[in-house]
C-alpha cells in the first residue's frame, strides 16, 4: 500500500515539481519524527517547535511519535526497522549513544544513519549567589588549593555532565567529590541549600533560578561565548581546557538515498536562518550548528562523539 502510494507520488513528480517550487518534492506525504522523550520532555518540545517551522519549508506533513522505554532503545529500534524512504527519523541526543554503550540493545546507535546535527546544548557551571565564587577560574583555584574538599554535583550518574566534572577533576587535580543526582531538580536543591559548591547543567534547566537571581553562572563549556550571555567566559578563556558538546539532531534508517538527505540539510538550513525560529531557539540558549547539517558531517561528528564518550565511560568504570 505504502509502496504503491510512493510510486504514485513519484509518477506525478515531474508534473508538479516545476510549478510548486525549485526544490524537488519530498517523496513521502507524512514524516514521522520519533523521540524517546515523553510528551512535554526536552526532545518532544524541541521537535514540536521544529516541525512548526519545517512544515512550510518542506511542504510535507509531520507527526511526532513518543516511543518511550528502554532508555531510548525502543525508539531507536522502531526507526532502525523503518523503510529508508525518508518517512521516519529519530530525534538524537547523546542518550541514544550512552544507552548503546551501557547495555546491549538489539539496535544500537550504529544501526541508525545520522542525518543532521542541528543544535548544541551548551553546558554551564553554576553556583548559588551566596557562594564566594564568581568565575569558574576562582572555583577551580579554590578546589586546587583545598584538594578533596570541594563538592560538585551532576544531574545523572552516566551523563555527559558527570563525565565533564570528572574531567575537571583530572585537569585541576582537585579530587572533588562528584555527586550524581536523579535529574536536575534534586541537583538544584543541593546547590541552592549550599550542600554542593558547584553544579553543572543546561541553561534551560536552571533558567527559573537564574532569572530570579538565586544562582550565578560561572562559566560555559562551549568553544565560543553564548550570544545571550555575552559576559560569561568559556572554560577555555578561564584557563581550563574543557569543551563539552551535547547535541540534538536527527538520524534515520540505513540506506536512505542521498537526495533525501540533501533535501533535509537545505530545509534545515533555511529554518535555522529564519528569524521566527531563531527567536525560539535562542531563547532556549541552543547553539545552531549549520556546519553539521549535511549528512557526511553529521556522520563523522557522531562517530567521533561516540568514540569519545565510550572512552570516558570506560575510564569511569561504567561501561565495558
Amino acid at each position: 500500500m505504502l509502496t504503491r502510494r510512493h510510486a504514485l507520488a513519484a509518477a506525478t513528480l515531474p508534473l508538479a515539481a516545476p510549478a510548486l517550487r525549485a526544490q524537488a518534492r519530498y517523496p513521502v506525504p507524512t514524516v514521522t519524527l520519533v523521540t524517546h522523550s515523553s510528551p512535554g520532555g526536552g526532545s518532544d518540545i524541541f521537535l514540536r517547535e521544529l516541525i512548526k517551522h519545517l512544515q512550510p519549508v518542506m511542504g510535507t506533513n509531520f507527526a511526532v511519535e513518543n516511543v518511550r522505554g528502554g532508555s531510548g532503545a525502543t525508539a531507536v529500534a522502531r526507526v532502525a526497522r523503518a523503510q529508508p524512504n525518508g518517512g521516519m527519523f529519530y530525534a538524537t541526543t547523546p542518550t541514544y549513544i550512552q544507552t548503546t554503550l551501557l547495555s546491549r540493545p538489539e539496535f544500537g546507535y550504529d544501526s541508525l544513519d545520522p542525518l543532521s546535527v542541528v543544535f548544541l546544548d551548551p553546558e554551564v557551571v553554576y553556583t548559588r549567589v551566596q557562594s564566594p565564587f564568581t568565575t569558574l577560574a576562582k572555583a577551580m583555584a579554590a578546589a586546587k588549593a583545598n584538594p578533596g574538599r570541594q563538592k560538585w554535583g551532576a544531574a545523572n550518574p552516566a551523563s555527559l555532565e558527570r563525565i565533564a566534572l570528572e574531567r575537571l577533576n583530572r585537569i585541576t587535580g582537585a579530587r572533588a567529590a562528584v555527586v550524581p543526582h536523579e535529574g536536575g531538580g534534586d541537583l538544584m536543591i543541593n546547590v541552592l541549600n549550599g550542600t554542593l559548591d558547584i553544579g553543572i547543567g543546561e541553561v534551560q534547566e536552571i533558567r527559573a533560578q537564574l532569572d530570579a537571581g538565586r544562582v550565578r553562572l560561572l562559566g560555559v563549556l562551549t568553544e565560543t561565548r553564548l550570544p545571550d550571555f555575552p559576559d560569561l567566559g568559556t572554560a577555555r578563556e578561564q584557563g581550563i581546557d574543557l569543551v563539552v558538546t551535547k547535541f540534538r539532531g536527527l538520524a534515520g534508517p540505513k540506506g536512505m538515498p542521498d537526495e533525501i538527505a540533501a533535501q533535509w540539510s537545505t530545509a534545515l538550513a533555511t529554518v535555522l536562518d529564519s528569524p521566527a525560529y531563531k527567536a525560539v531557539f535562542s531563547k532556549e540558549s541552543l547553539v545552531a550548528t549549520p556546519q553539521l547539517l549535511p549528512r557526511p558531517a553529521a556522520r563523522s561528528f557522531t562517530t567521533e562523539f561516540a568514540a569519545d564518550i565510550a572512552t570516558s565511560l570506560r575510564e569511569l568504570g561504567v561501561a565495558r
Partner: protein, 486 residues
C-alpha cells in the same frame, strides 16, 4: 478570582471537569498511573490557552489520585501507587458488604484532603518552599528511613514476614542504573531494565494480577451475598469519627507533598500507620475500619496540591506527575519558579481556581460514577476477571508500548501469588520498591559529600530529627505490639 466566572472562567471549569473525569478513569485502571494519564493528555494541550491547559493537567492529577482508590476498595487492586494503603481496610469493608460506604468515605476524605492541600498551597507556598530547600541528601535518607518505619503496621500478623517483604522490595529497587556510579546493575544487558523496575509495575503485578489468580481459585460469589449496591456518603456522626484520621492524613500529606521525591505513596502509608496509632479503636484497623480508608485517602489528595509547592515556587518537580505538569508549563512558554508569581500571576490564580473546580468535580463525578462501578464489580466473576486481566495487560502495554513490561507484570503477579500463599504481606514490598532508590541513592550521596563519615546523618539537624522520630515510632510500635500480646 472574578475572572473564573466570566466566559473564559467557565471554559476553565469545563476543562477541570473533563480533566478530573479522565483522571478518575485513568487512575482507576491498573497500570495507568496519574503521570501516565497526564502524559496521554499533554499533546492535546499544545494548542490550548495556557490556563485551561494547565488546569486540565492538574485536574487529571486530582482525579487520578482519587480514582486509584475505587479498584483498591472494590477489587483489592490499587489503581495508583498512592492508593495501595487503602486496600487494607477499604477492601475489607467491601467484603463485609460495606463497599458503598467505603467508597463514600474515600470520596469525601479525598475532598477534605484536596481542599486542605489547596488552602495550604495558596497560603503557605513561600514558607513551605523553604522546607523543601532544607532537605539535604542526609535528610532525604532519614525521610526514607522514617517511611520504612511503618512496615510493622503493614505486616499483618508476622513482623518477620513483613521485614522479608520490605527486603524483597528494596532488592527490586536495586535493579537499573546505579544511582552513583552509573554502572548498570542486574540489567543483563537489557535496555528495558536500565531505568529500573518501576513501582507501578510491581504494584500492578503484586496486587492486580495476583488478586485475579487468587480469585480464579475461589468459588463464584453467591448472588444472595449482602453487598452494597449504592454509594453511601458518610453522615455527620461518621465525619466526626473520621476527623482525627483525616487531620492526620492532611498533616502528613502536606509534609510529604512539599519534599520532592517522597510523594503520595509514602504519605498514604504513613497516614495509615499514624491514624492507627492515634485511633480510639486501633484494633479495628485491618478489619474494615473506616478510619483506615479516610487517613490514606485524605493524605494522597493533599499531596495533589502540596506537590505543586516546589514546582511553582522553585521550578523543581517533586514527582513524575509534577514533571509532566512542568512540561505543560514549558510548552506554553511559562517557566515555573520564583518569578512565576510575578510574571504570570493570572496563571497561578487560574490554576488555584481550577484546582478548586477539580476537587468539586471529583465529588460530583464520583457520585455519578460510583454506583455503576459497584454494579460493575457485582457482575458474574468469570467475566469480571477476564475483563480486568485485559485491562491490566492493555494498561501496562499502553505506558511504553512495551511487551517486556507486560511480561514483567505477569511474572511479578505469579511471584505475588506464591508470596501470598506463603503468607508474606505485599504492602511492605511495595514500600520497599518505592523507597529503595531514595534510601540508597541519598545514603551514598551523603557519604560522598562527607568523605565517608557517617556523622553526617546526626550533624544535619533535619536528618537527626527525622531519624530520632523513626526510632521513637518504631520503638513505640514494638512496645504496643508487645503489650497487646501479653
Amino acid at each position: 478570582m472574578a475572572a473564573l466566572f466570566s466566559g473564559d472562567g467557565l471554559v476553565t471549569i469545563l476543562f477541570a471537569f473533563a480533566g478530573c473525569l479522565w483522571g478518575i478513569f485513568g487512575g482507576a485502571l491498573p497500570g495507568i498511573s496519574p503521570s501516565i494519564a497526564m502524559a496521554l493528555l499533554l499533546p492535546f494541550t499544545y494548542g490550548m490557552d495556557p490556563i485551561p491547559a494547565i488546569v486540565l493537567l492538574a485536574s487529571v492529577y486530582v482525579g487520578a489520585e482519587y480514582g486509584g482508590s475505587i479498584p483498591a476498595i472494590l477489587i483489592r487492586t490499587p489503581g495508583t501507587n498512592a492508593s495501595a494503603a487503602t486496600t487494607i481496610d477499604g477492601y475489607e469493608m467491601a467484603r463485609q458488604g460495606k463497599g458503598g460506604e467505603a467508597l463514600g468515605i474515600s470520596l469525601i476524605s479525598g475532598l477534605v484532603g484536596g481542599l486542605f492541600g489547596l488552602v495550604v498551597l495558596v497560603l503557605a507556598t513561600e514558607p513551605l518552599a523553604r522546607v523543601a530547600l532544607a532537605f539535604t541528601p542526609a535528610a532525604y535518607f532519614a525521610l526514607a528511613v522514617l517511611g520504612l518505619s511503618v512496615i510493622a503496621s503493614l505486616s499483618g500478623g508476622s513482623l518477620l514476614k513483613g521485614v522479608i517483604g520490605a527486603g524483597l522490595g528494596l532488592m527490586v529497587a536495586t535493579v537499573g542504573t546505579d544511582p552513583v556510579s552509573g554502572v548498570p546493575r542486574f540489567t543483563f544487558d537489557s535496555p528495558e531494565l536500565l531505568g529500573g523496575i518501576r513501582p507501578i509495575l510491581v504494584m500492578v503485578g503484586l496486587f492486580a494480577v495476583a488478586e485475579m489468580l487468587v480469585q480464579i481459585g475461589e468459588p463464584p460469589w453467591a448472588k444472595a451475598e449482602a453487598r452494597d449496591t449504592r454509594l453511601k456518603l458518610p453522615g455527620f456522626g461518621m465525619m466526626r469519627r473520621l476527623f482525627r484520621a483525616q487531620a492526620i492524613g492532611c498533616g502528613i500529606g502536606t509534609f510529604e507533598g512539599v519534599t520532592p521525591g517522597a510523594g503520595g505513596t509514602v504519605a498514604a502509608f504513613m497516614a495509615y500507620n499514624e491514624a492507627r496509632r492515634w485511633s480510639a479503636d486501633p484494633d479495628a484497623f485491618g478489619k474494615g475500619s473506616p478510619e483506615g480508608v479516610a487517613a490514606p485517602e485524605s493524605a494522597n489528595n493533599v499531596v495533589t496540591a502540596t506537590a505543586l509547592v516546589p514546582l511553582l515556587s522553585l521550578g523543581i518537580p517533586g514527582s513524575n506527575s509534577a514533571a509532566i505538569l512542568l512540561g505543560g508549563f514549558m510548552v506554553h512558554g511559562l517557566t515555573p519558579g520564583p518569578l512565576l508569581f510575578e510574571r504570570a500571576p493570572e496563571v497561578v490564580w487560574g490554576l488555584y481556581g481550577g484546582l478548586l473546580a477539580a476537587n468539586i468535580a471529583m465529588v460530583l463525578l464520583g457520585m455519578v460514577i460510583l454506583t455503576p462501578a459497584l454494579w460493575l464489580v457485582n457482575r458474574p466473576k468469570p467475566y469480571l476477571i477476564a475483563a480486568i486481566l485485559c485491562l491490566i495487560v492493555s494498561g501496562v502495554f499502553a505506558i511504553e508500548q512495551s511487551v517486556f513490561d507486560v511480561g514483567l507484570v505477569l511474572g511479578i503477579g505469579v511471584v505475588g501469588y506464591l508470596l501470598r500463599l506463603a503468607g508474606v504481606p505485599v504492602l511492605p514490598i511495595v514500600l520497599g520498591v518505592v523507597l529503595g532508590f531514595m534510601l540508597e541513592s541519598n545514603y551514598r550521596r551523603s557519604l560522598m559529600l562527607s568523605a565517608g563519615d557517617h556523622a553526617v546523618f546526626i550533624e544535619d539537624p533535619v536528618a537527626l530529627v527525622l531519624l530520632l522520630l523513626a526510632v521513637a515510632l518504631t520503638a513505640y510500635s514494638f512496645w504496643s505490639e508487645f503489650k497487646r500480646k501479653t
